[in-house]
């Protein structure tokens, strides 16, 4: 049996982890959804990343106590949520799929959910109004949820996860179905929820850019196994290669670069150029001049999170966007 990676996200923490998965296995008949996954998550926004079917939602549901693992353990705030109603009072959950009643207003629904979360009725009403204000739905709070747009429904889903003031919330694909503007607003809301109110967040997504822009740390699952975990900034650090994009004379530029002994790989409409040392930039400058190629972009190349799903995350010449469809996975740092 191969040794499975076990991970603690982030730098060493003095506080105990909020979530601990220990050799977590979940099988549905012959299908293995989680295969011996172990990791610990601390305070902050942590992305749980993976393709569809990687086991993200299953892991979240096990942490919340909605599913029982086949073997292993999953502790939230030091307890098993399937056994402890006390710990569930401090958790919030925004499911991926529909979870809203269509006939009641957002204010009515949130008030009810706050009461189910243990808040007294008068406080629940106030909390519902405040949370809907936070989610940007204060003016619409008395409309039936069934008449809301997809973006508004996503906000109500987030609001119901927050209404009882949990210590930690689980967001399962919170940007699913949103247009780019709605996505950005939702990500802002998620960031604000942690940074202004200190609520820790486990953020599940298959969209690399969402996780990259929102999360401090990531846990990467693939085929039910833990692939990577750690700080997002460690994964998106600059590589030693340079991204070059020119308007014309591409072939001549490639010849000039290769003549100087640097390695050139096609990459997202431009070239990725790798050299032995800092003289790489001089070589690129000289090659561009000699090839008479109008320079459009020259930037140190950052690794994209999508590359985590490839065999060698540092040495790849192909985008992984086909496997994990998303916009903007490749991320040159700057444009001239």
């Amino acid at each position: 049996m191969t040794e499975r990676p076990t991970a603690e996200t982030g730098a060493p923490h003095p506080a105990p982890p909020l979530l601990v998965a220990c050799d977590l296995v979940k099988r549905y008949g012959s299908v293995v959804a989680l295969d011996g996954v172990s990791f610990a998550i601390h305070d902050g926004i942590t992305g749980i990343l993976g393709e569809n079917g990687a086991g993200k939602s299953t892991a979240i549901k096990i942490f919340l106590g909605l599913l029982q693992p086949t073997s292993g353990s999953a502790l939230v705030l030091g307890e098993d949520a399937s056994q402890s109603t006390r710990v569930r009072a401090r958790l919030g959950y925004m499911p991926e799929h529909d979870c809203l009643p269509s006939t009641v207003s957002a204010a009515e629904f949130l008030t009810h959910m706050a009461e189910v979360g243990g808040l007294p009725p008068s406080r629940a009403r106030t909390r519902a109004a405040d949370t809907l204000r936070h989610a940007g739905l204060f003016e619409e709070r008395y409309r039936a949820v069934g008449g809301y747009s997809t973006g508004m429904k996503q906000r109500v889903k987030l609001a119901q996860a927050l209404v009882h003031d949990p210590k930690m919330i689980f967001l399962d694909e919170p940007t699913a179905g949103l247009d780019p503007a709605g996505r950005e607003e939702m990500l802002d809301l998620v960031r604000k929820t942690h940074r202004e109110f200190g609520i820790s967040i486990l953020f599940s997504s298959h969209l690399m850019s969402d996780v990259e822009r929102t999360c401090d740390r990531i846990v990467v699952l693939q085929g039910g196994r833990l692939v990577q975990s750690g700080e997002v900034r460690d994964f998106t650090a600059e590589t030693r290669s340079v991204f070059v994009e020119v308007d014309t004379n591409r072939e001549r530029l490639v010849q000039e670069l290769e003549r100087r002994g640097v390695r050139v790989t096609a990459d997202a409409g431009g070239f990725r150029v790798e050299g032995p040392d800092e003289s790489l930039y001089d070589d690129v400058r000289d090659a561009v001049v000699d090839a008479d190629a109008p320079l459009r972009r020259l930037a140190p190349r950052r690794r994209a999170l999508a590359e985590l799903f490839q065999g060698d995350p540092t040495e790849t010449g192909e985008m992984i966007g086909a496997a994990l469809p998303d916009e903007g996975d490749e991320s040159p740092e700057a444009t001239p």
Binding site: R86, T103, G118
Partner: protein
Amino acid sequence: MSDPVPVHDIDPAAASHEGHARPEGRVFDIGYQRYDGPREGRARGRIAVFKDGVRTALGFGRGGRAKILPWSFIALLVFIGFILAMVAGAAFRFAGPEAAEGVPSHSDFYGIASIILFVFAAVVGPELLCPDRRDGVINLYLVRPITATDYIVGRWAAFTAVTLGVALLPQFVLLIGRMMGTPDPVAYLSDHWNDVPKILASGAAIAVYTSTLALLVASFTTRRAYASVFLVGLFIVSTPFTAGLSQELDGALGQWVSMFNLSNIPVHVNDLIFGDVSDITDAAPARELGSSLLFGWWALWVLVPGWLLWIRYRKLTP
């Protein structure tokens, strides 16, 4: 939740220094804040599920359309109680007390109106369970500090309470109507005071039975309409089928076939409570069976569906 936190105080000294007598002011952040108030945990969650179940059944907090069905049934049942009281009052006035006693009263009410209560339960009951599963709201309950058992018991208690209220309201309209229809209402009440516990007991018997069956059927589908049609069919079809078959079969077999008339099961208990046979059970061979058997049969039809309902929801959580 704590009161809004003042984020900025306007200094009155500075204001007066400028020569203006301004009142002291505070700017409050009325947006989202952390909650440091009381948390009542699982007990509050259970109450909330019950309260929401009552509101859902009666259409409160929902649009006008959600109120039409339950309140139509309530109005119809109250109307029947009112009509019976009016008829009794008229009989008393024009034909004397003996004639008024012959008009159907409390012991006959559920024999007359039970089918309306069954249809009420069939139409309204599924509304408490089906949408929560169809819309996925059930998952939001189960990640909060209540269990699946708390949820289903809360829903069952809520619907049973509503059905009990719907069953009792026309009986009390009838009681008050008959009381007011006599020249001496106080004397009528003192003569019939022991009807009150009987009304409560028979109302409870019919409410527990109908609500449990309705919620059990609703637990098997996410579509309210399917559950309603099935339940109405079950109550309506079982009546002529078992009545016809039990007439054809003599003796104990006929009596047992008659026991499967689902509409009659709580009415037999009603008859036992009042010590009288109502019109619809009068022709049922099952009425000749012993009282303990009739009561036990009713209890079986409450306990087994109730247990199945609990099992179905218990499976939702690990």
